[in-house]
């Protein structure tokens, strides 16, 4: 954070940090040109934000001790700190009135907030399209529905319920990529054998892959496919397996 002296058109320089009260920091700045000084005073929330960074404003004057922030931040009295911010606001801003009693008009919403019940966050969420009613104005492109043959549907239904959505999505992605409009048993089988990278394995290469212990096979498959894809290939043959093997040996 920097401050500009508009009179001298220059950055004010950081001078020092003081702790005028518990939970408050006073950060002092001075204009190097006109020597005007001012202090920015933080409330407990802002103070905690700065403390949470684990840094010291103005830089370190002595070496940090191990786990300095962690140890310094731990509260010894578990009841302390509760309601500190509300108390601060009550005393400093609301003039001793309960924070909730502040008139709504005193916090007039900025532009774009008015239709969200005055909450600045709801306006922001709506703008980002994250809320339940904040769907993006750009509708997602329609995805053509695929037909599933009864036997394919039956096969899908036999899988454990919690893996069905993932299998369905995977098969349909393969079917769309391959230009199928109907998912048959054959399409399901083919999708299982098809690489997610769009790379095919020859039977001989597949057999060599099967020699690898099962727990290591998925990682090996991904790595070999990556190597082949890097070379611009689309089919994994026994020769390519040999190349991959030589490459792995170089890393040993």
């Amino acid at each position: 954070m920097k401050f500009v002296c508009l009179k001298c058109e220059t950055y004010m320089t950081f001078e020092k940090v003081e702790k005028p009260a518990e939970g408050t920091l006073g950060v002092f700045f001075e204009c190097p040109s006109c020597q005007s000084r001012f202090s920015m005073v933080t409330n407990p929330g802002e103070t905690q934000m700065v403390s949470s960074l684990g840094v010291q404003l103005g830089g370190r004057t002595e070496a940090a001790i191990p786990l300095e922030m962690t140890r310094g931040g731990l509260e010894e009295n578990v009841s302390a700190g509760k309601g500190q911010m509300a108390a601060y606001l009550n005393e400093k801003i609301q003039g001793g009135q309960p924070a909730s009693a502040a008139p709504a008009a005193s916090a007039a919403p900025a532009s774009g907030e008015g239709e969200s019940g005055g909450c600045p966050f709801s306006a922001m969420v709506a703008q980002m399209g994250l809320g339940s009613s904040g769907a993006s104005s750009t509708a997602a492109p329609a995805v053509e529905q695929l037909l599933w043959t009864p036997d394919a549907q039956e096969k899908l239904a036999k899988l454990p319920s919690f893996v069905q959505p993932m299998v369905k999505s995977s098969v349909e992605t393969y079917a769309r990529k391959s230009g199928f409009t109907t998912v048959t048993l054959q399409v399901m089988d083919d999708s299982k054998n098809a690489s997610t990278e769009g790379i095919k394995w020859t039977p001989e290469a597949q057999q060599r892959l099967d020699n690898i212990p099962d727990f290591i096979r998925p990682m090996a498959k991904r790595e070999i496919e990556r190597l082949v894809k890097e070379k611009g290939g689309s089919e994994i043959t026994a020769d390519m397996m040999e190349e991959a093997k030589e490459k792995f040996m170089k890393f040993m």
Partner: protein
């Protein structure tokens, strides 16, 4: 509007300097973590996304198993709010030793070095941070992130073959990105689940999230796969889920299945961990540790098997 334009013109003529030195200090923090991690050969996180599946039990037993294999092992208990690793390893009451180089973690069974928030807390005191609790959602995440960063940067691990990090439950939301940011050469993640469908659903999401972040998933450990009767030794399934199918669909290896063993669990609760490699549950963890070790040496395996 004019005032904004004037300010823009003024700023165009000024040279920015970081007087408060915040950016500089944050950069120093990151560099310190990287420097600390240099002596560690393999960094592995144990995660789930679902609470209560036995991440800590898995982490502790994998650490013991790797140590049994002659590996130099460190264990970082990243569960800041519910640290339990020291208790499981019978290390409560031990502390970090402050030195000029940093905090030296105490050594537990089989020479495992352990760092945990528990070492900074008194008895059963909860973790409470200074600051306005009514605004804690604003700063708490940042505080916890920097606590983890300090545990990574300030701990004198020395030379290690493995550093295992036991992530807290619900870690999918914040800890993996943080760890990836702090440890660029993370070897991968071991995912723990139970065969219950609820756990599997949540775990699948955290796997997808971790993969999006570029974290390699080494495999899945199915915990509480069955119940071993402490009287007769018979085993029966506890849930009706199917972790094997999930792993097949996700293209991940199922590293192993661990039964729920009441006697086994009780020893860790009491801080008297079973170290005997002949124990059937210990043997299962040993098998998983061997697989992880092999997975991380997969290039060597491939040259022999391809």
């Amino acid at each position: 509007m004019n005032q904004q334009k004037d300010l823009k013109e003024i700023l165009n003529t000024l040279q920015y300097t970081d007087d408060a030195k915040v950016v500089e200090q944050i950069s120093v923090h990151t560099k310190r973590v990287i420097m600390r991690m240099k002596g560690i050969r393999r960094k592995v996180v144990v995660m789930s996304g679902k609470g209560g599946v036995g991440k800590s039990m898995t982490t502790v037993n994998l650490a013991l198993a790797l140590a049994r294999m002659g590996q130099r092992v460190g264990l970082l208990d990243v569960d800041i709010n519910g640290p339990c690793v020291p208790q499981m390893l019978g290390m409560r009451g031990k502390g970090l030793l402050d030195t000029a180089e940093g905090a030296v973690p105490p050594t537990g069974p089989l020479g495992i070095k352990v760092a945990s928030m528990d070492f900074l807390l008194q008895d059963n005191a909860p973790v409470r941070w200074k600051g306005p609790m009514d605004l804690s959602p604003v700063w708490l995440g940042l505080t916890e992130m920097n606590v983890i960063r300090e545990f990574l940067s300030d701990m004198v691990w020395g030379e290690l073959d493995y550093l295992l990090a036991d992530l807290p439950p619900g870690a999918a939301a914040d800890k993996p990105p943080l760890l990836v940011g702090l440890i660029p050469d993370l070897a991968g993640a071991v995912v723990v689940t139970t065969p219950s469908e609820v756990a599997s659903n949540v775990v699948q999401k955290s796997i997808a999230y971790a993969q999006e972040l570029g974290i390699g998933i080494l495999g899945v450990v199915e915990n509480m796969s069955e119940y071993r009767c402490p009287s007769c030794g018979d085993t029966n399934p506890l849930f009706e889920g199917d972790t094997e199918s999930m792993c097949e669909v996700l293209g991940l290896p199922l590293l192993g299945r661990i039964p729920f063993d009441r006697n086994f669990a009780r020893t860790f609760d009491k801080g008297e961990p079973i170290l005997d490699g002949d124990n059937p549950t210990v043997a299962k963890y040993q098998d998983i540790a061997k697989k992880i070790h092999t997975l991380l040496d997969y290039q060597q395996v491939l040259t022999g098997k391809l």
